[in-house]
Symmetry: C3
Subunit: 484 residues, 3 copies
Amino acid sequence: MGNCCESMGPQKNTYIRISLPAVCFVWQIAMVLLFGIFIRYNEEADAHWVEHKQQHNLTDIDNDFYFRYPSFQDVHVMIFVGFGFLMTFLKRYSFGGVGFNFLIAAFGLQWALLMQGWFHSLDQDTGKIYIGIENLINADFCVAGCLIAYGALLGKVSPVQLMVVTLFGITLYAVEEYIILNLLHCRDAGGSMVIHCFGGYYGLAISWVLYRPNLHQSKHNEGSVYHSDVFAMIGTLFLWMFWPSFNSAITNHGDGQHRAVINTYIALAASVVTAVAISSMFHSKGKLDMVHIQNATLAGGVAMGTSAEFMISPYGALIVGFFMGIISTFGYVIVTPFLAKSLKLQDTCGVHNLHAVPGMLGGFIAAIVAAFASDSVYSHQGLINTFDLTGEYASRTMSTQGGYQAAGTCVAMAFGLIGGAIVGLILKLPIWGDPADDNCFDDEAYWELPEEEEETIAPVLEYNNHMIQKHQDIAESNFSMEEC
Amino acid sequence: MGNCCESMGPQKNTYIRISLPAVCFVWQIAMVLLFGIFIRYNEEADAHWVEHKQQHNLTDIDNDFYFRYPSFQDVHVMIFVGFGFLMTFLKRYSFGGVGFNFLIAAFGLQWALLMQGWFHSLDQDTGKIYIGIENLINADFCVAGCLIAYGALLGKVSPVQLMVVTLFGITLYAVEEYIILNLLHCRDAGGSMVIHCFGGYYGLAISWVLYRPNLHQSKHNEGSVYHSDVFAMIGTLFLWMFWPSFNSAITNHGDGQHRAVINTYIALAASVVTAVAISSMFHSKGKLDMVHIQNATLAGGVAMGTSAEFMISPYGALIVGFFMGIISTFGYVIVTPFLAKSLKLQDTCGVHNLHAVPGMLGGFIAAIVAAFASDSVYSHQGLINTFDLTGEYASRTMSTQGGYQAAGTCVAMAFGLIGGAIVGLILKLPIWGDPADDNCFDDEAYWELPEEEEETIAPVLEYNNHMIQKHQDIAESNFSMEEC
Amino acid sequence: MGNCCESMGPQKNTYIRISLPAVCFVWQIAMVLLFGIFIRYNEEADAHWVEHKQQHNLTDIDNDFYFRYPSFQDVHVMIFVGFGFLMTFLKRYSFGGVGFNFLIAAFGLQWALLMQGWFHSLDQDTGKIYIGIENLINADFCVAGCLIAYGALLGKVSPVQLMVVTLFGITLYAVEEYIILNLLHCRDAGGSMVIHCFGGYYGLAISWVLYRPNLHQSKHNEGSVYHSDVFAMIGTLFLWMFWPSFNSAITNHGDGQHRAVINTYIALAASVVTAVAISSMFHSKGKLDMVHIQNATLAGGVAMGTSAEFMISPYGALIVGFFMGIISTFGYVIVTPFLAKSLKLQDTCGVHNLHAVPGMLGGFIAAIVAAFASDSVYSHQGLINTFDLTGEYASRTMSTQGGYQAAGTCVAMAFGLIGGAIVGLILKLPIWGDPADDNCFDDEAYWELPEEEEETIAPVLEYNNHMIQKHQDIAESNFSMEEC
C-alpha cells in the first residue's frame, strides 16, 4: 500500500477544515459589508412604491415583478436543480455534483448582485445599487457561467478551488458582459455569448491548465451507474423544459418574451430528435447513449440564447436546433476523446460540446440574423425596440449591428480562455486541498458518506464467513486426522 | 442457450441503427420544410406587436403570454418530468421510460403544431399558421395523448414503433379534437375526452393487437425496485401538483382559469385519500401498494378535465375526486388482472384505470353538469361565456349541449379504439426492431448500460475468490500430504 | 426469535386494514358534507365574474388569480415535493417519507379550507365560505405546519396516527393563526410564527410524549444510503428555490411581493455558505455532512418568514441568513444529540434546528424590525400599507406593533407545545397500529415492498453455493480417501 502512493509522488491532502470555513466566512462577511454599503431595493420593491404608483398613475400589475417572476423561478430551478442534478451522473460523485453546485451558486449570486450592480445599476448620485427582480435573474445568469465551468472540472477540484473559480468567474463575467452589452451594444438575452461561450471556455481553460496526467488512476469512478443516470435526467429535463424561460426572462415585455419562448421551445424539440439519431448511428447495434440524451438534447437552447428574441422565424429556430443536436452529439462521440488525447483537455461533463461550441455558434448565428434584420420583417418600431437602437445607437445599421454581435462572441471567448488560464495557474498552488489523481470523482474526499456497500453486502459476507468457517473446520479436521 | 431461443420461434432483432436514425432524420427534415412553408409568429409574438398595441390601445400585460405562460410551463413539466418519471418505475426500464418519453414528446409537439395548426389556426388568406403561447400548450396537450398510449406499451415496443405511434396518434388526435371541439362544439379544457379518453383507448387498442402470449418470459423484469418506485413518485407528484395548471391552461381568462384551478385542486385531494383507503383495504394487513399511490391518486384530475371550468361547485369536485380514487384503485386491484386474463390485454402502466375510464367518466360527468347549467348559477353572460354560446350556437339549449358533450366522449373513445387497432396492425410488421418476449422491460435492448451489478458485487467476489483459493490450498495440501 | 420479542414486552401490531380505510372514508365523507354546506367560489372564481368586472370596470388581469397563481404553484411544489422528498433520506423509509406526506397533505388541505374559512372567509350573511386562490395558498401553508411536525415523528408513527396529528394540527393552526393575525393584528406573511414555530414545537411536543426508550433497536435503519441522500436533495432544493414564493405568496400586491422575494432570496444564499462553513469545521478532516446541507441551508428562509415583507433591507436579510445557517448547523451538531440524551426528545429530521428555533427567532427578529419601522423608511402610505394600520389599528405605534409581534411568537410556541402534548397523549392509546421499537424507520410495516436485496445478491449467493459445494466435494473426497 505504501508503495503505490510513493510511486505517485507526494500524496495530496484533502484536509479543508481550515481553508473552507475560512473562505466561506471571510467572503460572506465581506458580502454583508458590501451589501450594507451598496445594495438597496429599487423603487418597485420599496415600500415607497405605493406612493410612487399613485404619482405616476400606475397599477400594481405594472410592477416589473409580474412580467418576470414566473421566468425567474424557472431560471432559479435551472441553476440549482438543472445544473445540480445534471452533474449527479457520476457513480460516486453525486453529493459533490449537486452539493458543490449549491454552494458556489449561493455564494456566486451574492457576488454577482454586487459586480453586475456596479456595472449596470449603480446610481451615480447616491452611490447605491438599486435591485429588483431583473437583478436577481441576472445574478442567476452570472452564476450559470461558473456552473458551466464547474462541469469541466467536476470531480477534480476541491470546494475551496471552486469558490476561487466562482469569485473570479463572476468578476470576469461582469466585465465581459459590460463590454459586450454596453460598450459593443450587443443583444444577448439568453446569453449564448456572455454565459455559455464564456463559461464553457473559462472552464475548459482551467481544466487544461490543471491537466492531470495520471487521471486514469480514477478511471473506476469516472462513469455512471444505472440510478445515477436517472438522477442526471432530472437535471436534463428541468434544464430542457425551462430553457424557454431562460431565454425570455430578460427580453422585452410583450412580443419579446413571447417570441423568445416560441423560438427556444422549437429549437430544443429539434435537438432531441437529431441527438437521438446521431447517438443511435454511432453504436454498432443502434443503442442510445445516456450521455448524449442528457446533454446534446439541450444544445438547441444554448444556441438560441442570443437570437431567441429576434425574428429568426419558427423554421429558423427549428434549423438551429436540428444542427445543434447533430454537432453536439458528434462532439461527445468524436471531439471530446480527440481533445483529451491531442490537447490533454479533461472535460468531465463535455462542456465543450454542450456550452462552448453551441454558445459560440449561437453568437455567430445571431450576428447573421441581426445583419439581415429589416423594417419589413420587424416593423420600423419593432426593429428599434428589439435591438434597442435608441440614443447614440439610433443610426447604427443592421449590418454594423451584426458585426458587433460577432465581435461580442469573440470577446466572450477571449475572456473565457485567457481568464480561465490565469485562474488555472492560481489553482495550481498547493494550498487548495484538491484530490490526488487516484482520488478524483470520489465523494469520499469531501463528504461524510453513509456506509452503503457494507449494508448490501453484509449478509453475503456473513453467510460466506459462516460457510468458509465450516469448510475450514472440515479441512482442519482432515488435517488433524492425518496427523494422528 | 441456442436451445432456449429456438424454442421461442425466430429470435427478434432489436437492431435499430438504420431505422431509428432514418425515421428521425426524415421526419425532422419534413418538419423543417413544413414549418418553413406554414408556421409564423402570431401578432402577439411578432415584432410588429409594438405597433399593433399602439394602434389598439393595448398595454404589454394584455398580451396573452402573461395569462398563460405560468400554466404552460407547468404543463410542460407534466409532459416531460411528470409522464417521464411516472414511467421509470420498472426496475430495468427507467432509461426507456424517461428517455423515449422525451424523444416522442419532442417529436410529437412539432407535428402537433402543424396538425392542430391546420385545423385551428390556419389563416385562409395567407395559408399560414400563426402560433403563440396557446398553440404551444395545445401541442403539449396533443403529445400527452400519445404519452398516455405509451404507458400501455411501456417496455414492449421499440423506439421506432413509438415514433409511428406518435405520428399517427397526433394525427388522430387533431382530427377527433376538431370534430369534438369545432363540429360538435363541446367544451373540453382539460381534455378528459380528447386527451385522456382518446389516449387511453388508443394505447389499449394497440396493446391488444400487439398481444404477446409469452410475455411471462420477461416476468423477472416486470416489477419495481425500491429506488425506481421513489423515482416514479417524482413523476406522480409533478403530475398531481401541476394538474390544476393543466385543466386551466386554456380556459377563459379570469374566472375560467381561477375556477378550473380550484376544482382540480379539490378533486385531486379527495382522490388521494380514497385511493389510500382502497389500497389498504385490499391488503391482508392493510399495507399500501405503491402502484396505487403512484397512479390512482391522479384520477380526480383526469376526471375533472372537462368540467373543471364549469360551475360544478367545490363539493361537486370533491365528490368526483372521491369516487375516482375508489374506481381507479379498484381498477388496479381487480380490473387490470381480469383484462389481462380474459381480454388478453397487457397494460403495463394500467392506463385503463388512470386515463381511459376516468377520462370517459369525466366526459359523461361534464355532460350532466353542462345539461343542468343555468342562468341563475352562471349568470346570463357567464353561461354564454363558459360554453361559448355565440354565433350559430347562441340558441343551443343546455340539455342539447349536454348531449353533444356525451357524444363527444363517444367520438373520443371510438377514435382511440379504431385508430389504435389500425396502428397496432401496422406495428405488427416485422420491420420495427421490437424486442423478443423474453427481452421486454429491459433497457439492455436499446440503451448502452453502465455495468452496475459488477461494481457492487466485485469486492464480494474478490473476497470470495481469495478465501476459496486459501481453502483450496489447504485442501490440496491435505491431498498432496496424503499422496506422500 | 420468540425470546427477543418477549423481552420487549407485548409485540406491537401494525395491522391497519380496518383503521386506515375507516379514518379515510369517515373523514373524506365528512369533508364532502361540510364542503356541500359551506364552500362556494368567491366572486373572482365564479361565472358571475364576467358581469361583475363589467360593473366594476375591471379587466381580466385584475383578477387576484394572476397576482398569486405562480407563487401558489411554487408553494404547492414545496408542500408535496419539497417536504415529501426531504423526508426520503432514510435508507428504508422513503416510501413512508414521500407517501405519507402526500396523504396527510391531501387530507389536511381540505380540512384547512374549512377551518381557515370559518375563521377568515365566512360570510356572516350567507353563512358560506367563499374561496379563491388565496385560500388555496393558505390551506397549503396550514398543511405545512403539520408536515413540519411529521418531520419530528418520521418513521415512528402509523399513517392513522398521522391523520390524527393532521386533524388536530390543522385545527390548532387555524385557532392560533386567528389569534395572531386577527386578534393581535400581527403580520406574518411567510409564517415564521404561525407555520414554522408552531409546527416545529407541535411536532417536538408530540415526539417528546411518544418517547421510545428502546428506539436504538431500530438503529440499523436510522440512517441514509447514498442514493436516498440524493433523493433528499431534490426536496431540499425545491424548498430552497421556491422559498421566495412561499414568503411572498400572500403579501401585498406590487412592492410587497417584490420585496419579500428579494429578502428571502438573499437570506437563503447566506445560509448556504455559513451552513457549509460550520459543517466543515465540525469534522476532523473538514468533510461536509449531508444532513446539514439538506436542512440548515434552508434556515434563512424560515427566519425571513415574517420580516420578508418588511423594509429589513438587503443587508439585513443577508445578516439574518448568515446567523441562521450557523445556528441551525450548530443545532444539528450539538443541540439535537443533547436534547436526545437530556430531554429524551427523539427528533428524526431535526425540526428543532430547522423550523422551531429559526421560526421563533424569525418571529422576534420581525418584532424588532417592526418596532423600528418609520415613515422615513417606508413612506407614510407605505407604512400603513405594509402593516395594515387601518381602521381600529390606525393609531397603533410601531413599538406597540413590535410588542404584538413578539407576543404572537409566544402564542405560536405555546399552541405548539401544549397542543402537541395533548395530541401526543391521545396518540399513546394502543389502537393506532404504530410500529414496535425494533420496527421503526422501516417501510416494511406499512408498504408492500418490491424484493430488492434478493435481486442484487442472488447471483453472488448462487456463485458462492456453487464454489462452496465444489470445495466441499474436494474436502469430502479427501475425507473418504483417508477413510479408505
